[in-house]
Amino acid sequence: MNALDQIFVLAEHWLAGLAPAPVRPLVSMLLIIAGLMAVFGTCFALTTILERKTLGRMQNRFGPNRVGPFGLFQPVADGIKMLIKEDIVPFSADKAVHFLAPLALTVPVWLAFAVLPFGRNMSAIELDAGILFFFAIGSASELAVFMAGWSSQNKYSLVGAMRAIAQMISYEVPLVLASIPVLMAAGSLSLPDIAQAQSGFALGWVPRWNVFTPWGLAGFAVFFIAAAAESNRCPFDLPEGESELIAGFLTEYSGFKYALFFLGEYLGLFAVTGLAVTLFLGGWQAPAQWLEWLPSWGWFAAKFSALIFLFIWIRATLPRLRMDQLLNFAWKFLVPLALINLFVAAVWLKFPAAMPIRWLLCAGLLVVPYVWLGRRWNGVTPKQRQYDYAE
């Protein structure tokens, strides 16, 4: 059992052991990088086709099912199409910036996978300030969006880029605020420690994951919504909405550069989903004692897949939010809730575990502002418009 659990670690040690001693750390790091790129590249391909099929099923139709069995070779077809497309750069575009923008988006996102713990002892780098690294890298990719929009010398691209950046910045605040209670509870910024801190079972059968506490549930909800907005995912995909702005900041990109943007977006989604699994769903922990025969990376993959399915499900269900609705939602609803969540988590941690009253107290402290803010939100009618008619 243990060997299966650590199979990737053992394989990497063995392979790195084949290299001569001076270059061993380098070879080890290269192996890990290759492994991560292979796994998440395949995950990207699978996600594109599974998303299309799932969206289709939820919309009472089949997804793509012509290429390969059940359409599973569709990503290959898509990849070939993207690669053989002509790479069109607008005449008045800023060539250097136009070229660098897809790179500036994709490279930081690959970096973010380095700190996620995919299983027991299975994070590529164990940083003391792991989660800070993650958020720093995430914010570095916003500049790439601006570069893409600006260099296309296209009004629509520029407006799309501005909207995308405004959205990403606005939703970074709830994202970080929602993850702070987790850091408080775990007492460390390092992601493997946070995953480890959620081990054990309360009452003998309920896993001690953060999502099973009031502040964890609220934090998970806020984190999930902010994560969807960070990766420009429905219902927050106004920047790339085809009916709004053609393709927003992606308008002037074709062929492989577009594929790189697409890849960067999906990889960002995977990274932030991995973070959500680590922070709130207990990382690689199994939900029950008797289920630990499945290896830790298997549980990570299962929870990861469940969250990706949840993202796809929400994409199939909800319409797109308008820009002002989006920003109002972030600043006037999510940020107050995240701050209140922070306070509630502090209250929770102050009360010892022996007092079940803390459940009621914390739940109440969270539900009341949610309902109140929600009422204010639902009851907001736009101001009556005044029309000046020509007479």
């Binding site: 003391d128 800070l132 720093a136 914010s139 600006w150 910045i169």
Partner: protein
């Protein structure tokens, strides 16, 4: 030795981008090069094992301040230097002289200070927990002052934006007469 090589490489990277940020023709390019220089600074922090400061530098400078600069460039349309005009101002010699003087003063002060004769302290291990504890106990006053300053800046920005919005007048109705009463029909003019 590898540390030195790394430092020189990172320093060269940072200085190159900072120089580019000053000399490039298009303002947006300058802003992006400045962002790269910030990233170079972050790398220097990381090379000194200051993880928290390095990542905070990335998060704040590259993730927020660079975007702020870029937005400022976008919203005020001073983008390009017209080709043919010189990049530098006419009084560049005075600028160079001042820069040399300041640099010379700083270099002399640093080289003469006794801190260069002291032994380098052992690299302090600063886990994030320790930084947090220090911030909350010993340095809580600067932390709170920084918070108050940032809140003031935020409020100021909101007040300025709000003030501008209420000043926008609605266009007056044309013609400036009252709308037709309910009994009358609209007359063709």
């Amino acid at each position: 030795m590898p540390n030195d090589i790394a430092f020189y490489l990172i320093a060269a990277f940072t200085v190159a981008f900072a120089a580019a940020a000053m000399t490039l023709r298009r303002l947006v390019h300058c802003a992006l090069c400045a962002a790269a220089a910030f990233a170079g600074l972050a790398m220097i922090y990381l090379q000194l094992d200051a993880e928290f400061v390095g990542f905070a530098q990335l998060l704040v400078y590259v993730g927020a301040i660079a975007i702020l600069i870029v937005f400022a460039v976008l919203l005020t349309r001073g983008d390009e230097v017209r080709p043919g005009r010189s990049q530098s101002s006419p009084s560049w010699m005075a600028g160079v002289a001042v820069a040399v003087l300041v640099l010379a003063g700083m270099a002399i002060a640093i080289l003469r200070s006794p801190s260069l004769q002291r032994l380098a302290p052992s690299a302090a291990v600063a886990p994030v927990k320790k930084i947090g504890e220090e911030l909350m106990t010993r340095y809580v006053l600067p932390l709170e002052m920084a918070g108050v300053l940032l809140t003031g800046a935020l409020l100021g920005a909101v007040v300025i934006a709000m003030h501008e919005e209420s000043e926008v007048k609605r266009p007056a109705r044309w013609p400036a007469s009252k709308p037709a009463e309910s009994g009358e029909t609209m007359s063709l003019r």
